[in-house]
Symmetry: C2
DNA sequence: TTTAGCACTCGATCAGCCTGAGTGCTAACA
DNA sequence: TGTTAGCACTCAGGCTGATCGAGTGCTAAA
């Protein structure tokens, strides 16, 4: 990948990638010469293109068509040629204006963030909410639903709310439940869920649990309530925009895309992968091994609060995607959401 | 619509509708004569078909194709010819087996119900949860999120849980909030949301609110908390099954379908319409005025608890839908969900 | 009243042709 | 030595016409 290109080759590669992004049509030597000039005749451009094809940056779908970038070509373009402009003041404020988070709860915010990203980029927006297990305990409340059935309301430090129904053997009055929640809220406040789980397991075995009935009950219930469900919250916005892309215009491809988006599993796996790295990540085409999303590129960034809740958001579109437009959008949005998570705690 | 058909015509119409439902191809006289016999030659069948076309039950896409049912044809078929078999014991128990509702909260149940209906029918499942305003108050709890921001947890009599964030001017401690929720839970228990709203409005104007600080605060907050958001909860399952149908196999149609399903608005309107009638309702083709879902039929039924929460569920598919299969599924599922709502209160 | 027969219609399929866009190569040019 | 004009070549896409087959409508005979 350490190949060097001279300036002319770079210019032409850049022009081809950009033209192709704009038109989705193979780009010919003539068009380059005409539209971009470089003071080169089509024939000269052809020579350069031939070299670029030789080196694997371009390929042609058939003899008499123009050239299109290979994945290697996209990589080179993104790594070496693309300058990602920051959003201008104006753009930023316009982006900000799109959001109305006042009085929204976590889920709504995630949904809205996806919608706005999708709307601005004209591709499909993805937002994966922080996983339950990555959150920090703030508060737990119980509501008795019926004999032995409890509704658990868990609120994390960042304001993520999770409801869950659990079944308990004893029938508890609301007053018992209040006692229990008071106890838990006092004991567990500010701990990470992982630490909470450890603590519960430890204390359940301890001496004290034997005679302290309240504590024992509380531990039992909270153990059930805070069990991981591995439930992933993924919000997908603008699915239909994917179907507008000419590369997914055949019925089979449309079906494949919709099926993939519907099951969510594959998308979640993809987003999971980018939780480790910092900043904006770009997955181009076959880097996403999964053949289900062949021809797609993914631009993601994780967002997080100091306290540890970590989620991922991003945009998915065809490999022929307007990277220069999408990258700053994803970047900015991730920062914005992180800030929102912070402010929630205040 | 009060037209009478003799038995032979009925038989042939029925055969055509069923063959067309099975194959999605225009049905010819030859095929009818061969597959269904009736001891009639193709020529005789042709004569009958010609009459049926004259009367508007059939039409042919072009001269040398077979016939397909018109909407009028479907109506006649459903009203007069179709006998909806009840589910057999076995089928019912198999259907029941598909559901695992233990420990699921309302939203999950709705989602699951849609999934199972879709899976059994091979069409797209729709479930619209009971509207907030149609529920009966059981319990409200508050969680302080940050300065002036409260999380409201509302639980209806049927176990519908709704979270909402509200902003209040005063900064309230958790202890104040408990006082308030105790007060509200005591005062409002068992009332319909509509009645609750009236009561709040009335009492806010009353004498007592002037000097009872707690009450005033409670009323103010609950007023904000129980405001209608007109938020419709619609669950769509098996979108991609729609794309498998040959009638929606062109890119344009696929896009239209996906866009329609994505925005949800149109579907919600459709489901809303069937909330008034009892039992299973069938909307065929252009009965759904909306041209967005041209070529679709909808089979719905509302479900409800004694206490008043009302939702709607159904299946949407092409007009050429297997009505005899789908109708009992929708019927049974609606009853099942109604029973689940009842049991929730116990 | 039913049916066999026949002419007719029309979509679908396929081969053949043409066109235009684009390439690669070569030779001439600066 | 790098650039360019010219030319032969390739190939997808669009158009055309022939053929095929499924199905109809009509008529006349059973």
């Amino acid at each position: 990948m350490a190949e060097e290109l001279n300036e002319r080759s770079q210019n032409i590669l850049e022009a081809i990638v950009e033209d192709y992004i704009a038109s989705a049509e193979p780009v010919g030597s003539r068009a380059i010469s005409r539209r971009h000039g470089f003071n080169l005749s089509p024939a000269s451009v052809r020579n350069v293109m031939s070299d670029l094809e030789e080196m694997g940056f371009l390929c042609s779908p058939h003899t008499s068509a123009g050239r299109i970038p290979t994945e290697k070509g996209y990589h080179y373009y993104i790594d070496s040629l693309l300058q990602v402009r920051d959003l201008s003041q104006e753009e930023e404020s316009q982006l900000r204006k799109n959001y109305r988070f006042k009085g929204m709860k976590m889920e709504d915010i995630m949904q809205e963030v996806g919608r706005v990203m999708s709307g601005l980029s004209n591709y499909t927006g993805l937002v994966m909410a922080p996983k339950f297990a990555s959150t920090v305990f703030r508060q737990i409340e119980f509501v008795r639903l019926s004999h032995g059935r409890l509704l658990v309301i868990y609120v994390s430090e960042t304001g993520l709310v999770q409801n869950k129904v659990i079944e308990v053997d004893a029938d508890l009055e609301q007053r018992d439940l209040e006692q229990i929640s008071n106890y838990l809220n006092h004991e567990l406040n500010g701990m990470s869920i992982l630490a909470v789980r450890e603590k519960i397991a430890r204390e359940l075995k301890s001496e004290r649990a034997r005679y302290d009935k309240l504590q024992k009950r509380a531990l039992r219930i909270s153990s059930a309530a805070l069990q991981d469900e591995a439930e992933e919250l993924l919000f997908v916005s603008g699915t239909s925009l994917m179907l507008e892309q000419p590369e997914f215009s055949t019925p089979e491809q449309m079906r494949r895309i919709i099926q993939t988006f519907e099951s969510k599993k594959i998308l979640i796996d993809l987003l999971d992968r980018s939780q480790n790295a910092q900043g904006v990540q770009i997955f181009i085409g076959s880097q996403n091994q999964d053949c289900q999303i062949e021809g797609c590129s993914l631009i993601t960034s994780k967002f997080s609060s100091q306290k540890g809740a970590v989620g991922t958001l991003g945009v998915i579109g065809p490999v022929r995607m307007d990277y220069s437009q999408v990258i700053p959008i994803v970047d900015f949005t991730a920062q914005l959401v992180s800030r929102i998570l912070e402010r929630e705690v205040e």
